[in-house]
Assembly symmetry: C2
Homo-oligomer: 479 residues x 2
């Protein structure tokens, strides 16, 4: 985002005025479009409100913008000669489309993070930059001459990566797959998107754990999917829950996140996995097994994946490198029966002509590199340190006010707030106090939960962030 | 695709049988799923039909597959103890989904290309590997240390790439844009997909040139868009055509491909651009200007882009590196008003969490590299040679049977076949004779047109391909 240049001799208000003028003249802010309020723009640009007022005054005087009481400031409709011009009504267009905008709370968090105001970020469920295997990747790029062809690739993904994944999945998760049953995706998000777009119809009933990351995904709503929550005990969902829902709603698919479930951190028990798989096999309901976290195990390894137990083609297995290497790489995968893989590959091809060769090439080298296993070991140790540091800070700063179970893997602490709070006012109070996190309602949880990610920050910022959280919590409870 | 190992001592039929057995036991071919016919599998694997028959016989004897008269060969439904198992009905699932499968003719072409039988490929609209700036890219990877953070990136795209694009667009296409009005996409396909998913509603009427690449895009149908064709003269579409369609159908958007239009090669005239823009401005209809080919100009540069004439925010401009650098890079862009960019960035974030940092980093370095301008000059010269070579071969081998205008840019020759032919039988005859191309109906053209790409093949294969085409044509006309 553009900011005025404070080292320039040109007054700030003039810089701001010409920045806006330029955008108007390029058609970036078409006639009739709204300008931000003076207060909001001042905050975004980090200047005084009076500076923005002066800039707007200049633009008004030049006839470029107009302010109408009650409806804010807008770009003037130009009157240029010949035919009357009508700008496309972009505001109406952007409200169209079958694809829904993100949840308001998620947009608020992103907006706060983009505002430029420094915030401790407990919201982002990803690894801190220093936890990524950056050196290994830089080495790959420098040392392995890139000689792959630069044509449109195989719709299912780069073959050497699919081959590397067959060994990786066998070794790490005991999943037997061949390269033909693997679709390379840009991550779990794309895998889920393809499933909702290609295997489900509007109106279809889908069962997910409650709470679950799935509730934060507008993609289900965009596709017209009806979501139903499955109760979760300490061993995960129970077959009885699936049976009950199926009887009532004819469930078309079950989405599960068996290892260090997002957001609760629950691990589905080994016995439970066998029972749930048997139940879904009996009912003929496919399971989507979303498994981003299994390699972040900080204590014992999780039980066998559902896919490794599946001999019937019931499980669509989803994984990615986002939570164990780097989210910016954008490499994930799906293991599924051939018919499914082909259908999804065809659709993805139509949506974006497939993935870039570069991240696929890097990922294939990374998986085969001797530095990947040591990287995973380091990552697990680092996550353990961060998790413990966050837990200690919470015990110290908020004793009795927040309770949680220590997760045995994953990137998040799931915290119950002992007391009456409202999700969005707590979030606003957090932002005011310099910290963001995920309110529980994003995951379809009852009031009074938040998800704190310990993976994204530098270790030394965790304690400071918990301080800010404590302040936010104390001020919300006070009001 | 797996092939039996001919150097092994193990008989081919045994190799094939255990390959299938393995896939069945991993759940990749679930109980009840169909196996290919013996003839088809034999062709795919490049073995005799009797070898496949023997493999199937072994699997049948082992109780793994069963052949039923009239319904082919299927994987047996296993009977394993406790509860009766029901495989998810994957065939029904893959027929679900709002996203439609590719056009049958396009699937047929892809299937033929993947079959392993060598085919001269005039169908793929992309550059031959030797035309890509592979050395420049390998240099970038080797010489510039990669130091970008590996987190989820900016939803609008890597900022240095957006900044590089502002200079590139200004210099090459006189488009004034700022980094805030640019969305980096994975190519024109993704740009179009985001537009249809986010700015249009099911039932909306959209006008496109007839013929047009747009007719090959199932994404319009998947989104429930009603497509209406605009007649095209030697200067492109005419405002009267737009007015007439708008009056009848209330057009919500106009998609244009003004430079070396795909498939016809037409260049919209300079005057016509001004008239069409004025017409759409007057009617308040947005224009999507798809401009993949302008930098392939082999003679004179094309007239100014519509976007460079737009001061009103009427034009959404789409470009990419696919046709001028490398399709496997998967980098494209859109220039649009801020409201549109933000809506599309938000949706893309929800679909796939944005693009990988690697192709974006490489593209930003490539655009700024001193070798990019010489690359473009070499590319134009090479395309000219190929175009002329194809034209000469057509004149030589098919005089009087095929007519075409020499395109001044782009990757394709649009040919009218002088005589009665049926698109799909011509394609089948082509495949039999060892050549594939795009039948005109894929682009919504009347019967008797084909699109031949001269860009994808090694120069020396063009003549041989035209030979095969001549054979195919002669045999189709004969039948």
């Amino acid at each position: 985002m553009w900011k005025p240049d404070r080292t320039s001799n040109r007054p700030l208000y003039q810089q701001i005025a010409s920045y806006i003028e330029q955008r108007i003249s390029f058609g970036e802010m078409p006639p009739g479009s709204s300008l931000p309020s003076e207060r909001k723009l001042a905050q975004q640009l980090g200047v005084n409100r009076s500076t923005v007022m002066q800039a707007y005054e200049n633009l008004r005087a030049a006839g470029m913008i107009e302010s109408l009481t009650g409806s804010g400031t807008r770009v003037c409709r130009g009157e240029s000669g010949v035919a009357p011009k009508q700008t496309p009504n972009w505001n109406r267009y952007v409200e169209s489309g079958t694809f829904l905008p993100n949840l308001p709370l998620l947009r608020r968090i992103r907006e706060a993070l983009q505002s430029g105001v420094p915030l401790v970020n407990f919201a982002g469920g990803e690894l801190a930059p220093e936890l990524a295997p950056s050196d290994a990747i830089a080495d790959i790029m420098r040392e392995h001459p890139f000689r792959e062809t630069l044509s449109y690739g195989d719709p299912q993904g780069f073959v050497p990566l699919r081959v590397a994944l067959t060994s990786f999945l066998l070794e790490q998760r005991h999943i037997q797959a061949t390269d033909e049953s693997i679709l390379v995706t840009s991550g779990s998000q794309q895998s889920l998107y393809l499933i909702t777009q290609c295997l489900l119809n509007p109106g279809d009933a889908v069962a997910i754990e409650q709470p679950s990351y799935g509730y934060s995904l507008q993609m289900f709503q965009s596709a017209g999917i009806r979501l139903f929550g499955l109760p979760v005990d300490e061993d995960g969902v129970h077959p009885d829950g699936i049976r009950a829902l199926h009887k009532q709603h004819r469930i078309r698919m079950v989405f599960l996140n068996p290892n260090y479930q997002n957001p609760t951190g629950t691990v589905m028990g080994a016995e439970r996995r066998i029972e749930v798989l048997a139940c879904c096999e009996e009912l003929g309901i496919p399971i989507v097994e979303d498994d981003p976290f299994s390699l972040t195990a900080m204590e014992d390894a999780p039980p066998p994946s559902l896919k490794s137990l599946d001999r019937n083609g019931t499980v669509l297995y989803i994984g990615s490198l986002s939570k164990v290497a780097a989210s910016g790489l954008r490499i994930g995968w799906m293991v599924a029966p051939h018919t499914v893989i082909r259908r999804l590959a065809d659709a993805r091809q139509q949506m974006d002509f497939g993935l870039s060769i570069f991240p696929q090439w890097i990922a294939s080298r990374l998986l085969e590199s001797s530095s990947f296993a040591p990287h995973l070991a380091r990552l697990r140790a680092a996550l353990r340190t961060r998790r413990d540091s966050m837990a200690a800070a919470l015990h110290r700063k908020l004793p009795g006010e927040i309770s949680f179970e220590l997760p045995r893997g994953g990137l998040n602490l799931w915290c119950r707030i002992n007391g009456d709070v409202n999700d969005s006012s707590l979030l606003e109070s957090g932002i005011k106090n310099g910290v963001v996190f995920m309110p529980g309602s994003v995951f379809g949880a009852e009031a009074g939960f938040i998800r704190l990610s310990y993976a994204r920050l530098p270790l030394e910022e965790i304690e400071m962030g918990i301080d800010k959280l404590a302040q936010a919590l104390c001020r919300t409870s006070a009001t």
